[in-house]
Protein backbone atom coordinates (compact mmCIF):
# COMPACT_ATOMS: atom_id res chain seq x y z
CA UNK A 1 0.00 0.00 0.00
CA UNK A 2 1.62 3.24 -1.08
CA UNK A 3 0.56 6.52 0.38
CA UNK A 4 1.58 9.83 -1.07
CA UNK A 5 2.48 12.13 1.77
CA UNK A 6 3.00 15.83 1.66
CA UNK A 7 3.58 18.50 4.22
CA UNK A 8 1.59 21.69 4.27
CA UNK A 9 3.12 24.95 5.46
CA UNK A 10 1.13 24.61 8.64
CA UNK A 11 3.15 21.54 9.45
CA UNK A 12 0.20 19.18 9.30
CA UNK A 13 0.91 16.01 7.46
CA UNK A 14 -1.72 15.30 4.88
CA UNK A 15 -1.95 12.59 2.36
CA UNK A 16 -4.24 10.93 -0.01
CA UNK A 17 -4.58 7.24 -0.25
CA UNK A 18 -3.76 6.25 -3.78
CA UNK A 19 -5.88 3.18 -3.40
CA UNK A 20 -9.15 3.76 -5.20
CA UNK A 21 -10.78 2.97 -1.92
CA UNK A 22 -13.02 0.11 -2.78
CA UNK A 23 -14.16 -1.20 0.56
CA UNK A 24 -13.22 -4.72 1.47
CA UNK A 25 -16.80 -5.89 1.43
CA UNK A 26 -17.32 -4.86 -2.16
CA UNK A 27 -20.87 -4.02 -3.13
CA UNK A 28 -22.45 -2.53 -6.16
CA UNK A 29 -21.38 1.13 -6.48
CA UNK A 30 -24.39 3.40 -6.56
CA UNK A 31 -22.39 6.59 -6.58
CA UNK A 32 -18.95 6.57 -8.15
CA UNK A 33 -16.71 9.58 -7.62
CA UNK A 34 -13.54 10.03 -9.66
CA UNK A 35 -11.02 12.85 -9.40
CA UNK A 36 -13.59 15.30 -8.20
CA UNK A 37 -12.36 18.84 -7.46
CA UNK A 38 -14.42 21.72 -6.19
CA UNK A 39 -13.80 25.45 -6.19
CA UNK A 40 -15.36 28.51 -4.59
CA UNK A 41 -14.09 31.16 -6.95
CA UNK A 42 -10.31 30.80 -6.76
CA UNK A 43 -10.26 28.70 -3.62
CA UNK A 44 -10.02 24.97 -4.19
CA UNK A 45 -11.86 23.18 -1.42
CA UNK A 46 -12.01 19.59 -2.67
CA UNK A 47 -8.98 17.84 -4.12
CA UNK A 48 -9.34 14.79 -6.31
CA UNK A 49 -12.00 12.93 -4.40
CA UNK A 50 -12.38 9.24 -5.28
CA UNK A 51 -15.16 7.27 -3.62
CA UNK A 52 -17.45 4.34 -4.39
CA UNK A 53 -20.61 4.65 -2.38
CA UNK A 54 -22.60 1.40 -2.33
CA UNK A 55 -26.32 1.01 -2.75
CA UNK A 56 -28.65 0.63 0.26
CA UNK A 57 -25.96 1.26 2.80
CA UNK A 58 -25.28 4.14 5.09
CA UNK A 59 -22.06 5.94 4.28
CA UNK A 60 -20.84 8.45 6.84
CA UNK A 61 -18.55 11.35 6.01
CA UNK A 62 -16.52 12.49 8.99
CA UNK A 63 -13.74 14.98 9.50
CA UNK A 64 -12.91 18.26 11.20
CA UNK A 65 -15.00 21.31 10.31
CA UNK A 66 -13.94 22.92 7.08
CA UNK A 67 -12.65 19.62 5.70
CA UNK A 68 -15.04 19.74 2.76
CA UNK A 69 -17.45 16.99 3.77
CA UNK A 70 -20.47 19.27 3.51
CA UNK A 71 -19.31 20.70 0.21
CA UNK A 72 -18.87 17.17 -1.05
CA UNK A 73 -22.29 15.95 -0.01
CA UNK A 74 -23.85 19.02 -1.60
CA UNK A 75 -22.02 18.15 -4.80
CA UNK A 76 -23.89 14.87 -5.11
CA UNK A 77 -27.17 16.64 -5.87
CA UNK A 78 -25.44 19.69 -7.34
CA UNK A 79 -26.85 21.86 -4.60
CA UNK A 80 -23.74 24.00 -4.86
CA UNK A 81 -24.93 25.16 -8.26
CA UNK A 82 -27.01 27.83 -6.58
CA UNK A 83 -23.90 29.42 -5.10
CA UNK A 84 -22.46 31.90 -7.57
CA UNK A 85 -18.86 31.25 -8.61
CA UNK A 86 -18.86 27.74 -7.20
CA UNK A 87 -17.95 24.94 -9.59
CA UNK A 88 -17.18 21.27 -9.54
CA UNK A 89 -14.79 19.43 -11.87
CA UNK A 90 -14.37 15.72 -12.33
CA UNK A 91 -16.80 12.85 -12.34
CA UNK A 92 -19.63 11.91 -10.02
CA UNK A 93 -21.59 9.02 -11.49
CA UNK A 94 -24.93 7.85 -10.26
CA UNK A 95 -25.80 4.46 -11.72
CA UNK A 96 -22.99 5.00 -14.19
CA UNK A 97 -24.16 8.39 -15.44
CA UNK A 98 -21.97 11.41 -14.83
CA UNK A 99 -24.08 14.10 -13.22
CA UNK A 100 -21.49 16.73 -14.04
CA UNK A 101 -21.72 16.00 -17.76
CA UNK A 102 -23.20 18.75 -19.90
CA UNK A 103 -26.92 18.56 -20.40
CA UNK A 104 -27.65 17.03 -17.02
CA UNK A 105 -31.10 17.97 -15.81
CA UNK A 106 -30.42 19.09 -12.24
CA UNK A 107 -34.11 19.31 -11.46
CA UNK A 108 -34.52 15.65 -12.35
CA UNK A 109 -31.27 14.80 -10.54
CA UNK A 110 -32.49 16.35 -7.31
CA UNK A 111 -35.68 14.34 -7.45
CA UNK A 112 -33.59 11.20 -7.45
CA UNK A 113 -31.22 12.49 -4.78
CA UNK A 114 -33.09 13.82 -1.77
CA UNK A 115 -31.48 16.00 0.85
CA UNK A 116 -31.97 16.77 4.53
CA UNK A 117 -30.21 19.80 5.96
CA UNK A 118 -28.42 20.60 9.16
CA UNK A 119 -31.14 22.92 10.37
CA UNK A 120 -34.67 21.75 9.73
CA UNK A 121 -36.18 24.06 7.15
CA UNK A 122 -39.89 23.35 6.82
CA UNK A 123 -41.89 25.72 4.64
CA UNK A 124 -44.31 27.95 6.53
CA UNK A 125 -47.16 25.79 5.28
CA UNK A 126 -49.24 22.99 6.71
CA UNK A 127 -47.66 19.63 7.54
CA UNK A 128 -49.53 18.11 4.62
CA UNK A 129 -48.43 20.77 2.14
CA UNK A 130 -44.83 20.41 3.22
CA UNK A 131 -44.77 16.72 2.45
CA UNK A 132 -46.81 17.10 -0.71
CA UNK A 133 -44.71 19.98 -2.05
CA UNK A 134 -42.25 17.95 -4.12
CA UNK A 135 -45.01 15.91 -5.72
CA UNK A 136 -47.13 18.96 -6.44
CA UNK A 137 -44.38 20.82 -8.27
CA UNK A 138 -43.65 17.57 -10.08
CA UNK A 139 -47.15 17.67 -11.49
CA UNK A 140 -49.06 15.23 -9.28
CA UNK A 141 -52.58 16.62 -8.99
CA UNK A 142 -54.49 13.51 -8.02
CA UNK A 143 -55.74 14.06 -4.48
CA UNK A 144 -55.77 10.38 -3.65
CA UNK A 145 -52.21 9.83 -4.86
CA UNK A 146 -51.08 12.82 -2.83
CA UNK A 147 -52.85 11.60 0.30
CA UNK A 148 -51.29 8.17 -0.04
CA UNK A 149 -47.81 9.54 -0.60
CA UNK A 150 -48.08 11.92 2.35
CA UNK A 151 -49.17 9.12 4.65
CA UNK A 152 -46.54 6.71 3.40
CA UNK A 153 -43.74 9.26 3.70
CA UNK A 154 -44.76 10.33 7.17
CA UNK A 155 -44.89 6.71 8.23
CA UNK A 156 -41.45 6.05 6.83
CA UNK A 157 -40.16 9.08 8.66
CA UNK A 158 -41.77 7.71 11.87
CA UNK A 159 -43.87 10.84 12.23
CA UNK A 160 -47.29 9.63 11.13
CA UNK A 161 -48.60 8.64 14.54
CA UNK A 162 -47.68 12.01 16.00
CA UNK A 163 -49.22 14.20 13.31
CA UNK A 164 -51.96 12.19 11.61
CA UNK A 165 -54.70 14.18 13.37
CA UNK A 166 -53.27 17.57 12.56
CA UNK A 167 -52.02 17.41 9.02
CA UNK A 168 -53.50 20.80 8.21
CA UNK A 169 -51.71 22.55 11.06
CA UNK A 170 -48.63 24.66 10.44
CA UNK A 171 -45.38 22.73 10.27
CA UNK A 172 -43.75 25.48 12.31
CA UNK A 173 -45.77 24.37 15.35
CA UNK A 174 -43.86 21.07 15.50
CA UNK A 175 -40.90 20.52 17.83
CA UNK A 176 -37.35 20.66 16.47
CA UNK A 177 -37.02 16.89 16.21
CA UNK A 178 -40.43 16.55 14.61
CA UNK A 179 -39.57 19.29 12.12
CA UNK A 180 -36.45 17.42 11.11
CA UNK A 181 -38.38 14.19 10.62
CA UNK A 182 -40.92 16.18 8.62
CA UNK A 183 -38.09 17.36 6.39
CA UNK A 184 -37.05 13.72 5.96
CA UNK A 185 -40.64 12.79 5.09
CA UNK A 186 -40.73 15.68 2.63
CA UNK A 187 -37.58 14.39 0.98
CA UNK A 188 -38.92 10.82 0.87
CA UNK A 189 -42.21 11.85 -0.69
CA UNK A 190 -40.69 12.36 -4.13
CA UNK A 191 -39.37 8.81 -3.92
CA UNK A 192 -35.63 9.40 -4.25
CA UNK A 193 -33.07 6.61 -4.56
CA UNK A 194 -30.40 8.41 -2.59
CA UNK A 195 -30.81 10.42 0.59
CA UNK A 196 -28.14 12.96 1.53
CA UNK A 197 -28.09 14.12 5.12
CA UNK A 198 -25.96 17.08 6.14
CA UNK A 199 -25.52 16.81 9.91
CA UNK A 200 -29.21 16.08 10.31
CA UNK A 201 -29.15 15.78 14.10
CA UNK A 202 -26.63 18.43 15.08
CA UNK A 203 -29.32 20.87 16.19
CA UNK A 204 -31.39 18.31 18.10
CA UNK A 205 -31.56 17.08 21.68
CA UNK A 206 -30.39 13.52 22.50
CA UNK A 207 -33.84 11.93 22.41
CA UNK A 208 -34.69 13.47 19.05
CA UNK A 209 -31.24 12.46 17.83
CA UNK A 210 -31.85 8.83 18.82
CA UNK A 211 -35.09 8.86 16.85
CA UNK A 212 -33.36 10.18 13.76
CA UNK A 213 -30.62 7.55 14.09
CA UNK A 214 -33.14 4.73 14.41
CA UNK A 215 -34.88 6.13 11.39
CA UNK A 216 -31.67 6.11 9.37
CA UNK A 217 -31.26 2.40 10.17
CA UNK A 218 -34.71 1.65 8.88
CA UNK A 219 -34.39 3.82 5.80
CA UNK A 220 -31.34 2.04 4.46
CA UNK A 221 -33.56 -0.90 3.54
CA UNK A 222 -34.78 1.21 0.64
CA UNK A 223 -32.39 4.08 0.20
CA UNK A 224 -28.73 4.75 -0.33
CA UNK A 225 -27.82 7.13 2.45
CA UNK A 226 -24.88 9.51 2.70
CA UNK A 227 -24.66 11.26 6.03
CA UNK A 228 -22.30 14.04 7.07
CA UNK A 229 -21.65 14.15 10.77
CA UNK A 230 -19.17 15.75 13.12
CA UNK A 231 -20.22 13.32 15.80
CA UNK A 232 -18.03 10.20 15.62
CA UNK A 233 -20.20 8.11 17.92
CA UNK A 234 -23.05 8.84 15.59
CA UNK A 235 -21.03 7.77 12.58
CA UNK A 236 -20.03 4.60 14.41
CA UNK A 237 -23.64 3.87 15.37
CA UNK A 238 -25.46 4.46 12.13
CA UNK A 239 -23.09 3.83 9.26
CA UNK A 240 -21.84 0.80 7.37
CA UNK A 241 -19.01 2.68 5.72
CA UNK A 242 -17.08 5.73 6.74
CA UNK A 243 -14.99 8.19 4.77
CA UNK A 244 -12.59 10.40 6.67
CA UNK A 245 -12.10 13.84 5.11
CA UNK A 246 -9.38 16.27 5.87
CA UNK A 247 -8.32 19.50 4.16
CA UNK A 248 -10.50 18.71 1.20
CA UNK A 249 -9.18 15.19 0.66
CA UNK A 250 -10.40 11.73 1.47
CA UNK A 251 -7.78 10.31 3.83
CA UNK A 252 -9.36 6.94 4.34
CA UNK A 253 -12.50 5.12 3.30
CA UNK A 254 -13.69 1.72 4.42
CA UNK A 255 -15.92 -0.29 6.70
CA UNK A 256 -16.97 1.77 9.66
CA UNK A 257 -15.79 -0.87 12.11
CA UNK A 258 -12.37 -0.91 10.57
CA UNK A 259 -12.07 2.86 10.42
CA UNK A 260 -12.86 3.17 14.08
CA UNK A 261 -11.13 0.05 15.41
CA UNK A 262 -8.18 -0.40 13.16
CA UNK A 263 -7.58 2.49 10.82
CA UNK A 264 -4.88 2.26 8.22
CA UNK A 265 -3.81 5.89 8.37
CA UNK A 266 -2.21 7.58 11.31
CA UNK A 267 -4.29 10.71 10.75
CA UNK A 268 -7.51 8.75 10.85
CA UNK A 269 -6.48 7.16 14.07
CA UNK A 270 -5.59 10.50 15.59
CA UNK A 271 -8.95 11.88 14.58
CA UNK A 272 -11.18 9.04 15.69
CA UNK A 273 -9.39 8.76 18.99
CA UNK A 274 -9.89 12.48 19.48
CA UNK A 275 -6.28 13.56 19.29
CA UNK A 276 -7.12 16.44 16.98
CA UNK A 277 -9.99 17.94 14.99
Amino acid sequence: MTTALSTTPGGLTTGRSTMTTTPTTARLGKITVRHFDFYYGEAKVLHGIDLDIPERQVTALIGPSGCGKSTFVRSINRMNDIIPEARGEGVIEIDGKNIYAGGTDVVELRRRVGMVFQKSNPFPKSIYDNVAYGLKIGGTRNKRALNDAVEKSLQRAALWEEVKDRLQESALALSGGQQQRLCIARALAVDPEILLMDEPASALDPIATTKIEELIWELKENYTIVIVTHNMQQAARVSDLTAFFMLGKVIEFGDTKKIFMNPREKMTEDYVTGRFG
Binding site: R111, P122, F123, K125
Partner: protein, 322 residues
Protein backbone atom coordinates in the same frame (compact mmCIF):
# COMPACT_ATOMS: atom_id res chain seq x y z
CA UNK B 1 -18.46 55.90 46.88
CA UNK B 2 -19.28 53.35 44.27
CA UNK B 3 -22.89 53.49 45.27
CA UNK B 4 -22.91 57.24 45.20
CA UNK B 5 -21.53 57.54 41.70
CA UNK B 6 -23.96 54.92 40.55
CA UNK B 7 -26.86 56.92 41.86
CA UNK B 8 -25.57 60.07 40.23
CA UNK B 9 -25.29 58.29 36.96
CA UNK B 10 -28.77 56.88 37.10
CA UNK B 11 -30.37 60.23 37.96
CA UNK B 12 -28.50 61.85 35.10
CA UNK B 13 -29.63 58.98 32.94
CA UNK B 14 -33.19 59.64 34.03
CA UNK B 15 -33.23 63.28 33.00
CA UNK B 16 -31.48 62.48 29.75
CA UNK B 17 -34.14 59.93 29.07
CA UNK B 18 -36.97 62.31 29.87
CA UNK B 19 -35.60 65.19 27.81
CA UNK B 20 -34.93 63.15 24.67
CA UNK B 21 -38.20 61.34 25.29
CA UNK B 22 -40.04 64.66 25.30
CA UNK B 23 -38.73 65.39 21.81
CA UNK B 24 -39.71 61.90 20.73
CA UNK B 25 -43.18 62.53 22.09
CA UNK B 26 -43.46 65.44 19.65
CA UNK B 27 -43.58 62.91 16.83
CA UNK B 28 -46.56 61.24 18.44
CA UNK B 29 -48.04 64.68 19.00
CA UNK B 30 -47.64 65.54 15.33
CA UNK B 31 -49.69 62.54 14.25
CA UNK B 32 -52.33 63.17 16.88
CA UNK B 33 -52.30 66.90 16.11
CA UNK B 34 -52.99 66.33 12.43
CA UNK B 35 -55.98 64.16 13.29
CA UNK B 36 -57.29 66.67 15.82
CA UNK B 37 -56.80 69.75 13.67
CA UNK B 38 -58.40 68.17 10.63
CA UNK B 39 -61.41 67.01 12.63
CA UNK B 40 -61.82 70.46 14.15
CA UNK B 41 -61.60 72.19 10.80
CA UNK B 42 -64.15 69.96 9.17
CA UNK B 43 -66.86 70.01 11.87
CA UNK B 44 -69.09 72.37 9.93
CA UNK B 45 -69.19 70.09 6.95
CA UNK B 46 -69.50 66.89 9.00
CA UNK B 47 -72.48 68.29 10.91
CA UNK B 48 -74.19 69.71 7.85
CA UNK B 49 -73.90 66.79 5.47
CA UNK B 50 -73.24 63.70 7.58
CA UNK B 51 -73.07 60.62 5.42
CA UNK B 52 -74.56 62.33 2.39
CA UNK B 53 -71.16 63.99 1.95
CA UNK B 54 -69.80 60.61 0.95
CA UNK B 55 -72.66 59.53 -1.28
CA UNK B 56 -73.48 62.81 -3.01
CA UNK B 57 -72.19 63.42 -6.51
CA UNK B 58 -72.86 67.14 -6.71
CA UNK B 59 -69.97 69.43 -5.87
CA UNK B 60 -71.35 72.94 -6.14
CA UNK B 61 -69.57 75.53 -4.02
CA UNK B 62 -71.83 78.32 -5.33
CA UNK B 63 -74.97 76.82 -3.89
CA UNK B 64 -73.17 75.22 -0.97
CA UNK B 65 -73.85 71.59 -1.89
CA UNK B 66 -70.92 69.26 -1.35
CA UNK B 67 -70.92 65.61 -2.33
CA UNK B 68 -67.49 63.98 -2.42
CA UNK B 69 -68.26 60.67 -4.08
CA UNK B 70 -66.60 61.51 -7.41
CA UNK B 71 -63.35 62.36 -5.62
CA UNK B 72 -63.39 59.21 -3.58
CA UNK B 73 -64.13 57.24 -6.71
CA UNK B 74 -61.34 58.94 -8.61
CA UNK B 75 -58.86 58.36 -5.81
CA UNK B 76 -59.70 54.70 -5.30
CA UNK B 77 -60.01 53.94 -9.00
CA UNK B 78 -56.73 55.60 -9.95
CA UNK B 79 -54.89 54.04 -7.03
CA UNK B 80 -56.22 50.55 -7.69
CA UNK B 81 -55.37 50.83 -11.38
CA UNK B 82 -51.90 52.07 -10.46
CA UNK B 83 -51.54 49.14 -8.09
CA UNK B 84 -52.53 46.68 -10.79
CA UNK B 85 -49.85 48.07 -13.08
CA UNK B 86 -47.17 48.69 -10.47
CA UNK B 87 -47.35 45.53 -8.37
CA UNK B 88 -46.21 42.99 -10.96
CA UNK B 89 -43.47 45.32 -12.14
CA UNK B 90 -42.30 46.17 -8.63
CA UNK B 91 -42.25 42.53 -7.56
CA UNK B 92 -40.48 41.61 -10.77
CA UNK B 93 -37.81 44.18 -9.98
CA UNK B 94 -37.49 42.95 -6.40
CA UNK B 95 -37.17 39.35 -7.58
CA UNK B 96 -34.71 40.22 -10.30
CA UNK B 97 -32.45 42.20 -8.01
CA UNK B 98 -32.51 39.82 -5.08
CA UNK B 99 -32.68 36.44 -6.86
CA UNK B 100 -31.56 36.63 -10.47
CA UNK B 101 -29.27 39.54 -11.11
CA UNK B 102 -25.51 39.13 -11.25
CA UNK B 103 -24.01 40.49 -8.08
CA UNK B 104 -22.28 43.47 -9.65
CA UNK B 105 -25.60 44.71 -11.06
CA UNK B 106 -27.52 44.55 -7.81
CA UNK B 107 -26.50 47.82 -6.30
CA UNK B 108 -26.70 49.98 -9.42
CA UNK B 109 -30.12 48.55 -10.24
CA UNK B 110 -31.38 49.15 -6.72
CA UNK B 111 -30.14 52.67 -6.87
CA UNK B 112 -31.64 53.41 -10.29
CA UNK B 113 -35.06 52.03 -9.49
CA UNK B 114 -35.09 53.97 -6.25
CA UNK B 115 -34.19 57.12 -8.11
CA UNK B 116 -37.80 57.00 -9.26
CA UNK B 117 -38.78 57.79 -5.68
CA UNK B 118 -36.46 60.77 -5.51
CA UNK B 119 -37.93 62.57 -8.52
CA UNK B 120 -40.40 65.18 -7.26
CA UNK B 121 -44.07 64.80 -7.99
CA UNK B 122 -44.09 68.12 -9.82
CA UNK B 123 -41.47 66.87 -12.26
CA UNK B 124 -43.56 63.78 -12.93
CA UNK B 125 -46.47 66.13 -13.56
CA UNK B 126 -44.49 68.31 -15.93
CA UNK B 127 -43.30 65.27 -17.84
CA UNK B 128 -46.86 63.96 -17.79
CA UNK B 129 -48.33 67.09 -19.34
CA UNK B 130 -45.75 67.58 -22.06
CA UNK B 131 -44.61 64.05 -22.88
CA UNK B 132 -46.96 61.37 -21.61
CA UNK B 133 -50.28 63.08 -22.38
CA UNK B 134 -49.46 63.59 -26.09
CA UNK B 135 -48.37 59.95 -26.33
CA UNK B 136 -51.55 58.73 -24.67
CA UNK B 137 -53.65 61.01 -26.88
CA UNK B 138 -52.06 59.49 -29.95
CA UNK B 139 -52.77 56.01 -28.64
CA UNK B 140 -56.35 56.98 -27.90
CA UNK B 141 -56.83 58.41 -31.36
CA UNK B 142 -55.46 55.30 -32.98
CA UNK B 143 -57.69 52.98 -30.95
CA UNK B 144 -60.17 51.23 -33.25
CA UNK B 145 -63.84 52.16 -32.96
CA UNK B 146 -64.80 48.76 -31.63
CA UNK B 147 -62.62 49.37 -28.61
CA UNK B 148 -63.76 52.95 -28.20
CA UNK B 149 -67.34 51.71 -27.79
CA UNK B 150 -66.43 49.76 -24.64
CA UNK B 151 -67.33 51.40 -21.33
CA UNK B 152 -63.69 51.29 -20.33
CA UNK B 153 -62.61 53.47 -23.25
CA UNK B 154 -65.54 55.85 -23.75
CA UNK B 155 -65.05 59.56 -24.08
CA UNK B 156 -63.09 62.04 -26.13
CA UNK B 157 -59.43 61.26 -26.77
CA UNK B 158 -58.00 64.07 -24.68
CA UNK B 159 -54.86 62.42 -23.47
CA UNK B 160 -55.57 63.68 -19.98
CA UNK B 161 -57.74 61.39 -17.91
CA UNK B 162 -57.89 58.40 -15.63
CA UNK B 163 -55.63 56.16 -17.68
CA UNK B 164 -52.78 58.65 -17.85
CA UNK B 165 -53.06 59.37 -14.14
CA UNK B 166 -52.95 55.67 -13.31
CA UNK B 167 -49.85 55.22 -15.47
CA UNK B 168 -47.98 58.06 -13.79
CA UNK B 169 -49.07 56.90 -10.35
CA UNK B 170 -47.86 53.40 -11.13
CA UNK B 171 -44.40 54.66 -12.01
CA UNK B 172 -44.27 56.72 -8.82
CA UNK B 173 -45.35 53.82 -6.63
CA UNK B 174 -43.01 51.19 -8.06
CA UNK B 175 -39.87 52.17 -6.08
CA UNK B 176 -41.67 52.02 -2.75
CA UNK B 177 -43.06 48.56 -3.26
CA UNK B 178 -39.97 47.17 -4.95
CA UNK B 179 -37.47 48.35 -2.36
CA UNK B 180 -39.42 46.93 0.57
CA UNK B 181 -40.19 43.69 -1.26
CA UNK B 182 -36.51 43.36 -2.14
CA UNK B 183 -35.55 43.70 1.51
CA UNK B 184 -38.13 41.09 2.46
CA UNK B 185 -36.79 38.63 -0.11
CA UNK B 186 -33.23 39.30 0.97
CA UNK B 187 -34.20 38.31 4.48
CA UNK B 188 -35.78 35.01 3.48
CA UNK B 189 -33.39 32.31 4.73
CA UNK B 190 -31.39 30.56 2.01
CA UNK B 191 -32.46 27.31 3.67
CA UNK B 192 -35.97 27.84 2.31
CA UNK B 193 -34.75 28.06 -1.26
CA UNK B 194 -32.40 25.13 -0.70
CA UNK B 195 -35.25 23.02 0.61
CA UNK B 196 -37.17 23.71 -2.58
CA UNK B 197 -34.20 23.06 -4.85
CA UNK B 198 -33.43 19.83 -3.03
CA UNK B 199 -36.94 18.64 -3.85
CA UNK B 200 -36.37 19.25 -7.53
CA UNK B 201 -37.76 22.76 -7.82
CA UNK B 202 -36.92 24.93 -10.80
CA UNK B 203 -35.49 28.35 -10.13
CA UNK B 204 -38.89 29.98 -10.42
CA UNK B 205 -40.46 27.41 -8.11
CA UNK B 206 -37.77 28.13 -5.52
CA UNK B 207 -38.46 31.85 -5.90
CA UNK B 208 -42.13 31.16 -5.30
CA UNK B 209 -41.20 29.41 -2.07
CA UNK B 210 -39.22 32.49 -1.01
CA UNK B 211 -42.18 34.70 -1.88
CA UNK B 212 -44.46 32.42 0.11
CA UNK B 213 -42.16 32.73 3.09
CA UNK B 214 -42.20 36.52 2.86
CA UNK B 215 -45.86 36.74 1.94
CA UNK B 216 -47.06 39.01 4.72
CA UNK B 217 -44.18 41.41 4.25
CA UNK B 218 -44.72 41.51 0.52
CA UNK B 219 -48.40 42.25 1.01
CA UNK B 220 -47.23 45.01 3.33
CA UNK B 221 -44.99 46.39 0.61
CA UNK B 222 -47.89 46.44 -1.84
CA UNK B 223 -50.08 48.25 0.67
CA UNK B 224 -47.32 50.75 1.26
CA UNK B 225 -47.44 51.52 -2.45
CA UNK B 226 -51.21 51.79 -2.29
CA UNK B 227 -50.95 54.33 0.53
CA UNK B 228 -48.55 56.36 -1.57
CA UNK B 229 -50.87 56.30 -4.56
CA UNK B 230 -53.88 57.45 -2.52
CA UNK B 231 -52.17 60.61 -1.31
CA UNK B 232 -50.26 61.55 -4.44
CA UNK B 233 -51.26 65.05 -5.49
CA UNK B 234 -49.39 67.13 -8.00
CA UNK B 235 -48.62 64.70 -10.77
CA UNK B 236 -52.17 63.37 -10.66
CA UNK B 237 -53.87 66.72 -10.71
CA UNK B 238 -51.77 67.74 -13.70
CA UNK B 239 -52.84 64.82 -15.89
CA UNK B 240 -56.17 63.49 -14.65
CA UNK B 241 -58.30 66.29 -16.11
CA UNK B 242 -59.89 67.44 -12.84
CA UNK B 243 -63.48 66.72 -13.71
CA UNK B 244 -65.57 65.21 -10.92
CA UNK B 245 -67.48 62.31 -12.36
CA UNK B 246 -68.02 58.68 -11.51
CA UNK B 247 -67.21 56.61 -14.57
CA UNK B 248 -65.19 53.53 -15.36
CA UNK B 249 -63.76 55.06 -18.52
CA UNK B 250 -59.98 55.32 -18.64
CA UNK B 251 -60.23 58.08 -21.26
CA UNK B 252 -62.51 60.25 -19.14
CA UNK B 253 -61.10 63.17 -17.16
CA UNK B 254 -61.76 62.57 -13.48
CA UNK B 255 -60.75 64.01 -10.13
CA UNK B 256 -59.16 62.82 -6.89
CA UNK B 257 -59.42 63.83 -3.25
CA UNK B 258 -55.90 65.16 -3.03
CA UNK B 259 -56.26 67.01 -6.33
CA UNK B 260 -59.44 68.85 -5.37
CA UNK B 261 -57.82 70.02 -2.13
CA UNK B 262 -54.78 71.27 -4.04
CA UNK B 263 -56.84 73.12 -6.63
CA UNK B 264 -59.65 74.61 -4.56
CA UNK B 265 -58.24 75.19 -1.10
CA UNK B 266 -57.07 78.74 -1.70
CA UNK B 267 -60.27 79.57 -3.54
CA UNK B 268 -62.55 78.37 -0.80
CA UNK B 269 -64.24 81.64 0.09
CA UNK B 270 -66.63 80.55 2.82
CA UNK B 271 -66.19 78.38 5.88
CA UNK B 272 -68.45 75.57 4.74
CA UNK B 273 -66.53 75.17 1.50
CA UNK B 274 -63.23 75.12 3.37
CA UNK B 275 -64.61 72.64 5.92
CA UNK B 276 -65.78 70.37 3.13
CA UNK B 277 -62.28 70.35 1.65
CA UNK B 278 -60.70 69.67 5.03
CA UNK B 279 -63.13 66.82 5.58
CA UNK B 280 -61.83 65.25 2.38
CA UNK B 281 -58.35 65.70 3.79
CA UNK B 282 -59.42 64.12 7.06
CA UNK B 283 -60.71 61.03 5.34
CA UNK B 284 -57.59 60.82 3.20
CA UNK B 285 -55.58 61.04 6.43
CA UNK B 286 -57.56 58.29 8.13
CA UNK B 287 -57.39 55.95 5.14
CA UNK B 288 -53.67 56.42 4.62
CA UNK B 289 -52.93 56.07 8.35
CA UNK B 290 -54.86 52.82 8.46
CA UNK B 291 -53.18 51.44 5.35
CA UNK B 292 -49.72 52.51 6.42
CA UNK B 293 -50.17 51.16 9.92
CA UNK B 294 -51.30 47.83 8.57
CA UNK B 295 -48.49 47.62 6.03
CA UNK B 296 -45.91 48.54 8.69
CA UNK B 297 -47.22 45.84 11.01
CA UNK B 298 -46.99 43.29 8.22
CA UNK B 299 -43.47 44.36 7.31
CA UNK B 300 -42.39 44.44 10.94
CA UNK B 301 -43.73 40.97 11.49
CA UNK B 302 -41.30 39.82 8.81
CA UNK B 303 -38.49 41.89 10.26
CA UNK B 304 -38.88 40.17 13.60
CA UNK B 305 -37.95 36.88 11.96
CA UNK B 306 -34.72 38.39 10.72
CA UNK B 307 -32.13 40.31 12.66
CA UNK B 308 -31.60 43.23 10.34
CA UNK B 309 -33.95 46.19 10.70
CA UNK B 310 -35.17 47.65 7.47
CA UNK B 311 -34.71 51.24 6.47
CA UNK B 312 -37.74 53.33 5.69
CA UNK B 313 -35.76 55.54 3.37
CA UNK B 314 -35.08 53.65 0.18
CA UNK B 315 -32.10 55.79 -0.79
CA UNK B 316 -30.24 54.84 2.32
CA UNK B 317 -30.55 51.14 1.89
CA UNK B 318 -27.31 49.42 1.17
CA UNK B 319 -26.56 45.97 0.06
CA UNK B 320 -24.26 44.54 2.66
CA UNK B 321 -20.84 44.14 1.13
CA UNK B 322 -20.15 40.50 0.64
Amino acid sequence: MGMFSNRRRSSDDGSFRVVTGAFAALVLLAVAGIGFELSRQSMLSIRRFGMSFWTGTTWDPVSGVFGALPFIWGTLYSSILALLIATPIALGIAIFISELSPRFLRQPLSYLTELLAAIPSIVYGLWGIFVLVPIVRKLELSAPDAIRKLALFKGPPLGVGMGTAALILAVMVIPFTSSVAREILKNVPTAQREAAYALGATRWEAIKVAIGYGKSGIIGSIMLGFGRALGETMAVTMVIGNNPQVTASLFAPQYTMAAVIANEFTEAADDLYLNALVEIGLVLFIITIAINALSRLLIWSMEKRSSRPMAIVPLLEEQPAQ
